[in-house]
């Protein structure tokens, strides 16, 4: 598994992308936000499945760190990506919440 052809920058990008998608899925199933997405296309999946998918994506990102021979380095990248992805989702939801009343008026 240690020699898949993924360049280091691609791997960093992939870790961030998977973390971001995972965090989006987890946010969409969170108690505070799930109602906002109930009628949206993505929620054809039920909440449990979506939450499972979120965790699966985060776990998949973690496993990808083993495709590099610098696993320690990429585990740190994974942790960082996870946090920044969560922060980004948080920020987007924060702005969404602020704009929502104005949009509905």
């Amino acid at each position: 598994m240690s020699h898949l052809v993924i360049s280091d920058s691609m791997l960093s990008g992939l870790l961030f992308l998977l973390s971001l998608l995972g965090m989006i899925a987890l946010m969409m199933t969170s108690k505070r936000h799930k109602d906002k997405f109930q009628h949206k296309l993505l929620l054809r999946l039920n909440g449990q499945a979506l939450r499972g998918l979120g965790f699966l994506l985060l776990a998949l990102a973690f496993l990808l760190t083993y495709t590099s021979d610098q696993t320690g380095y990429f585990i740190v990248v994974w942790f960082g990506s996870l946090t920044v992805a969560a922060g980004l989702v948080y920020l987007v939801m924060m702005i969404y919440e602020q704009l929502k009343p104005a949009a509905s008026q």
């Binding site: 920058s9 960093s12 987890l26 946010m27 969170s30 108690k31 505070r32 936000h33 610098q70 320690g72 380095y73 740190v76 990248v77 942790f79 960082g80 990506s81 996870l82 946090t83 920044v84 969560a86 922060g87 989702v89 948080y90 939801m93 924060m94 919440e97 602020q98 009343p101 104005a102």
Partner: protein, 568 residues
């Protein structure tokens, strides 16, 4: 009533009143621990955290603070630099097919500094290092010269006297104007208090998962708490890691008993370390030195058998061209988390290996991995920015926590214009630290550009200026009402950040547009970062000026804001 009846009545009364005595639950107790452990040294913690966060780019900041040294990508323009900052060397060949940078630097030193006491040549910090540009320190009995050497253009660059980004790095754990040991003990105590506050905070937070992505706008204290939670919970693994590894970094200072228990002879240990420094030898005889380049190639090849990412990072030569010459070669692996490297020591006359590094014990590896995780020097730019952003979140966590303390208690004040002494002090310290410290930091950059280049102890004045600005902001805070002090200081930070790129373009030849033309990524990034931070502080200024805690939380934020603006 008989005595027994009285006693019975008393005991019944006691039983009935017992439940009324409020015993603090575990969570409430932890709330107090979280509040006070976070607050008491909160201002120091904010300073430590902010300095540490900026220090992820301390080498880049040093480069920015030495604008007369062109970026490697600008090497072609080196010839046009003023004579004071560069001096093209003569008598050194410039036509080498595959220049080995260390070998070229040694050739240069042989030609110009043959009788020095020590030559120290390094690639510099990994984040800003480039094979083409080496950092050289030449030591003699009385003086030490630092300069950079471009192996391709054969140019020496002598930077201005500046404290550079290293000031922030040292301030992060050594503070300033005080004994280093005491500073580290104080920083250690603050870090331990922070770790306790973080753990207590996790216990206190009832809805850690429910509120994971939650921010409620315009709800006063609730909003501040949400912001504090966001800055704390989202990067929680980072906060725990950085605080714990920070303590571990200096653990031998906080727990010095380990070396005594394990019966380590510290004197012998230090004697061995110092034996590799150039001694004040009095009977040195001239003697030819072995060619260093093949030794470096051999050392690197041997190290790469262990790890293909190893490379030579520095070469130190004691008493070159004498019978006491000694060559010390250090190496590190790219992206290795552990800060421990490899070394090899050669006899300078014969090239014989005198000593070489052995694989370290597991405990040492564990310790150095923690130091590496803390310092993040193994990171490339992508990871370094992640570290930086997480550090900013840590600063946000402390800042929102400190502000939250006052927001929560302000509502309980009898007279909001005459708060009690404790509240007054916390509020003033909050302003002087959360707004005054960033102002002092930007002021530090301005001083780097504005102080005369030939000024005596220029670097010291940069640092003194930093503290003068910081102290000035505290005095300003004392003289003004808190609300006005927030506005004034935050406005000053915004304006100074906004004008930093302009100041840079007026005082150097590396303004924004010039940097774009030269693809000078570091200077472009600095200007863009200043602009983004200026926007952030502009928003904070706006919030401190126009936003107030709502009296009725259900009032729509837009309507409230409009009314407040209208009232002013």
């Amino acid at each position: 009533m008989s005595d027994s009846a009285k006693n019975q009545t008393l005991s019944m009364t006691a039983t009935q009143t017992k439940p009324k005595i409020k015993v603090k639950g575990y969570r409430l107790l932890m709330t107090d621990v979280h509040t006070w452990f976070g607050l008491l040294l909160g201002w120091l913690l904010f300073t430590i955290f902010l300095m540490g966060t900026v220090s992820y780019f301390n080498n880049e900041l040093t480069v920015w603070m030495q604008p007369e040294i062109p970026a490697v990508s600008q090497q072609t323009s080196a010839a046009t630099l003023p004579a004071t900052s560069s001096s093209p060397l003569q008598n050194v060949t410039s036509t080498v097919d595959k220049p080995e940078p260390f070998g070229m630097a040694i050739k240069n030193l042989q030609a110009t500094q043959a009788n020095a006491k020590n030559w120290f040549i390094t690639k510099g910090a990994s984040s800003t290092s480039h094979d083409q540009r080496l950092h050289i320190t030449v030591s003699n009995d009385k003086e030490r010269q630092h300069y950079q050497f471009d192996t391709q253009t054969q140019t020496l660059y002598t930077p201005r006297d500046t404290a550079g980004g290293n000031f922030f790095y040292r301030m992060h754990f050594d503070l300033h104007y005080m004994s280093v040991i005491w500073a580290r003990i104080i920083v250690g105590i603050a870090s331990m208090m922070m770790l306790i506050a973080i753990i207590a905070g996790v216990i206190v937070h009832k809805k850690i998962f429910t509120d994971f992505f939650t921010f409620r706008w315009g709800k006063g204290q609730r909003s501040w708490l949400d912001a504090h939670n966001a800055f704390s919970v989202l990067p929680l693994p980072f906060h725990i890691m950085i605080t714990f590894t920070g303590i571990i970094t200096l653990v031998s200072l906080y727990m010095p008993w380990a070396s005594k228990v394990s019966d380590i002879d510290t004197q012998q240990f230090f004697e061995e370390i110092y034996s590799y420094r150039p001694a004040n030898a009095t009977e040195l005889q001239p003697a030819p030195m072995v060619d260093v380049t093949p030794l470096l190639a051999n050392a690197q090849a041997d190290w790469q058998k262990l790890n293909p990412h190893y490379a030579v990072t520095s070469v130190s030569i004691n008493h070159p061209n004498t019978d006491h010459s000694m060559i010390i070669v250090d190496g590190k692996a790219d992206r290795q988390i552990s800060t421990i490297g490899v070394f090899r020591i050669y006899d300078g006359q014969t090239g014989e290996t005198l000593k070489q590094s052995e694989p370290p014990p597991l405990a040492v590896t564990a310790h150095t991995v923690m130091i590496g995780l803390h310092a993040g020097r193994f990171s490339d730019y992508w990871l370094r920015w992640l570290y930086f952003l997480l550090g900013v979140a840590g600063c946000g966590m402390i800042a929102t926590g400190l502000v939250l303390w006052t927001v929560k208690r302000r509502r309980q004040l009898f007279d909001k214009n005459k708060p009690y002494a404790g509240f007054w002090l916390v509020e003033k310290l909050n302003i002087a630290t959360l707004a005054g410290l960033p102002l002092a930091m930007v002021g530090f950059f301005w001083l780097n550009r504005l102080l005369p280049l030939n000024m005596a102890t220029r670097a010291k004045w940069e640092v003194d200026g930093f503290f003068i600005i910081w102290a000035g902001s505290f005095v300003l805070t004392l003289l003004m009402s808190s609300r006005l002090a927030w506005r004034v200081l935050l406005s000053l930070v915004t304006l100074s950040l906004l004008f930093t790129p302009l100041l840079n373009s007026l005082t150097t030849e590396r303004g924004f547009f010039q940097s774009v033309l030269n693809r000078d990524v570091l200077f472009i990034s600095f200007d863009v970062t200043c602009f983004i931070l200026a926007l952030l502080f502009a928003y904070l200024t706006y919030a401190a000026t126009f936003k107030q805690t709502p009296s009725k939380q259900k009032v729509k934020s837009n309507a409230r804001l409009g009314a407040q603006v209208g009232n002013q």
